[in-house]
């Protein structure tokens, strides 16, 4: 599904602010994988997603999506395959437009024509789709999205994203800005949609329990590299404590090898 070969990202090269955010990362994502991604602040998780989706150009390496080299493909073209949800609930929807106008742009991917798709059949479809959110949005099709709460907006973003039928989902802490109850609702919807539409997914989370509970694979990032990649079997027996211990022991190895370098 997605193959990443030796990608790197350097911000502001050759300046005092030079920052290597991703360093020679390899990753193979199989169709149907649901990978949770953990790692401390600044470890490069969002940057990795930005590279996969094409928001940023890579400094080096290759990205292969569905067998095609998309390393230099613009973001909007990759979006036919990739659906993305950000931490900030305002990024996925247009605040100044009504719910139905937002949903119509998400009904199909790609350039729109002079067709008027916003008819009663599609409004019925939208009501039916909104109904599964159980947030009462089905009665508010004509309300501006800016009037919704963060949780409602994020649920709508999720719904719109799956409505446009991507093959792959990139979720970047998409429940982090929500209160526990809304986070739970959005998380339940997420797993439901992933299963129903068989979406290959990557989900960044700082909630270790979520990282363990969801998905069939877990990767941990640190300093712009993937330092741990656990498959389904290993993940099943995982606990938060074990995960933290693994992280610590890897870090120690790192220090140890650094010391090796120092001692002649």
């Amino acid at each position: 599904m997605l193959k990443i070969e030796q990608i790197s990202k350097v911000f502001y090269p050759n300046t005092v602010n030079e920052k290597t955010a991703i360093e020679y990362v390899d990753l193979m994502v199989n169709a149907g994988d649901f990978i949770t991604v953990v790692g401390s602040n600044g470890s490069g998780k969002s940057t990795l997603f930005n590279l996969i989706s094409g928001s940023y150009p890579v400094t080096g390496g290759k990205i292969i999506l569905n067998g095609k080299d998309v390393t230099h493909t613009p973001e909007y073209k990759r979006a036919f395959t990739i659906g993305r949800i950000f931490q900030d609930p305002t990024t996925g929807t247009a605040a100044k437009m009504s719910i139905e106008d937002n949903m119509i742009t998400a009904l199909y991917k790609g350039m729109k024509g002079l067709r008027i798709s916003l008819n009663s059949a599609n409004r019925d479809l939208f009501r039916k789709e909104l109904n599964q959110l159980s947030m009462g949005l089905e009665d508010r099709l004509k309300d501006n999205v800016g009037l919704l709460s963060g949780g409602q907006r994020q649920a709508l973003t999720l719904l719109m994203t799956v409505l446009s039928r991507p093959k792959m989902l990139l979720l970047d802490e998409h429940t982090a800005a929500l209160d526990p109850r809304n986070a739970q609702i959005v998380m339940d919807l997420t797993t439901k949609f992933i299963a129903r539409y068989n979406l290959t997914s990557l989900m960044v989370t700082h909630n270790m329990q979520h990282a363990i509970d969801f998905g069939n694979r877990l990767i941990m990032m640190d300093g712009g590299r993937i330092i741990l990649d656990l498959a389904a079997e290993e993940k099943k027996s995982l606990t938060v404590l074990k995960l933290v211990q693994m992280f610590k022991s890897i870090k120690k190895q790192d220090y140890a090898s650094d010391e090796d370098l120092l001692t002649p």
């Binding site: 613009p74 973001e75 909007y76 073209k77 979006a79 036919f80 659906g83 993305r84 305002t90 990024t91 996925g92 929807t93 247009a94 605040a95 100044k96 437009m97 009504s98 106008d101 937002n102 119509i104 742009t105 998400a106 991917k109 790609g110 350039m111 729109k112 024509g113 002079l114 067709r115 008027i116 798709s117 916003l118 004509k142 501006n144 994203t161 446009s164």
Partner: protein, 319 residues
């Protein structure tokens, strides 16, 4: 005379719809307008002088404006400069181009030539002269308004609105935002030039300086319209733009006509327009602050009511 204000305001309203598309719908601070308005006037005038049909002349005028808008959008897209700078570049270049279109002169009269405004009294011969002009203009404005309303209900039109509100969302939906900007800016400046082409025929001449200060006047009209009523429906938004444009022209007329009692001269009108925009901004700001304060108070009251209700339920269960 009153009809004159309405004709003036209606012709102006087409321009304001153009400004609405760039500033409010696309969120693109576009100054091309000051140039493309005069381009429309120049192209329509020269086409009419050279004997093309009146409808063709107006279509040519809009096309010229649309090209100017496309150029601004392309400069912004390809050179990655802010829209404001791209618009200023096009506007500056247009000043030279407009004089070229006018055959090297700063203005060209349309005297003793059939224009759309000499035709209206013939078409609506049962009406008085001034009413015929008003009805003719009104029909053109209605045609434009309804076409724009329909356009912004299509999938393409809605996606242009979404772009202005959230560009990332458009990218996520697999749409090239650059292409949408080109289309939106072309449409915006096409309308602005159409308005210029009509004004040249109404006042009987084209002038290379006709567009000066148009953007600010357009914004003033939009803001006046926004005071009238609140809506997210495109048909009501364009309607209030038309009202705003007429009210603006009426205010300027009053300024010109009665201003002399307070020693205002016509050259003070630009100052007045600027002050009008600033006052509108201040009122809009205090209004939105007041309405969000109001919303907060309402939310508090709602919460309290809910808590009371929940408490009652708990009491009920406990009993």
């Amino acid at each position: 005379m009153l009809e004159g204000i309405f004709v003036d305001g209606l012709i102006f309203s087409i321009m304001v719809i153009g400004v609405l598309i760039s500033y409010r719908i696309l969120d693109f601070a576009d100054l091309t307008c000051d140039g493309s308005f005069a381009t429309g006037a120049a192209v329509a005038t020269m086409a009419i002088v050279q004997g093309t049909g009146l409808v063709t002349a107006l279509l040519l005028a809009s096309a010229a404006g649309a090209i100017a808008g496309v150029i601004t959008a392309t400069i912004h897209n390809q050179l990655k400069v802010p829209g404001l700078l791209a618009g200023i570049l096009t506007m500056t270049m247009l000043y030279s181009i407009n004089i070229r279109i006018l055959g090297g002169r700063a203005n060209i009269p349309l005297l003793r030539i059939t224009t759309i405004y000499t035709k209206f009294p013939l078409i609506f011969s049962s009406l008085s002269q001034s009413w015929a002009l008003l009805v003719g203009t009104l029909l053109i404005v209605l045609f434009v308004k309804i076409s724009i309303d329909i356009f912004f209900r299509t999938d393409l039109g809605i996606s242009i609105g979404a772009l202005g509100s959230n560009e990332q969302m458009i990218i996520s939906m697999g749409i090239n935002p650059k292409l949408l900007k080109v289309i939106g800016m072309g449409l915006s400046n096409g309308l602005i030039a159409l308005s210029g082409g009509l004004l040249a025929q109404y006042q009987g001449f084209a002038d290379a300086n006709l567009g000066q200060g148009m953007v600010v006047q357009g914004l003033a009209a939009i803001m006046i319209g926004e005071f009238l009523f609140d809506s997210n429906r495109i048909s009501l938004i364009t309607l209030r733009v038309i009202f705003g444009a007429i009210i603006y022209k009426a205010l300027m007329f009053l300024g010109r006509y009665y201003g002399y009692y307070i020693k205002l001269t016509p050259s003070d009108l630009k100052l007045l327009t600027g002050i009008l925009v600033i006052v509108s901004l201040i009122i809009a700001q205090t209004r939105s602050a007041a309405s969000s304060a109001d919303a907060r108070k309402k939310a508090l009251r709602r919460n309290k009511a809910r808590r009371v209700a929940e408490q009652k339920e708990v009491d009920h269960v406990e009993n």
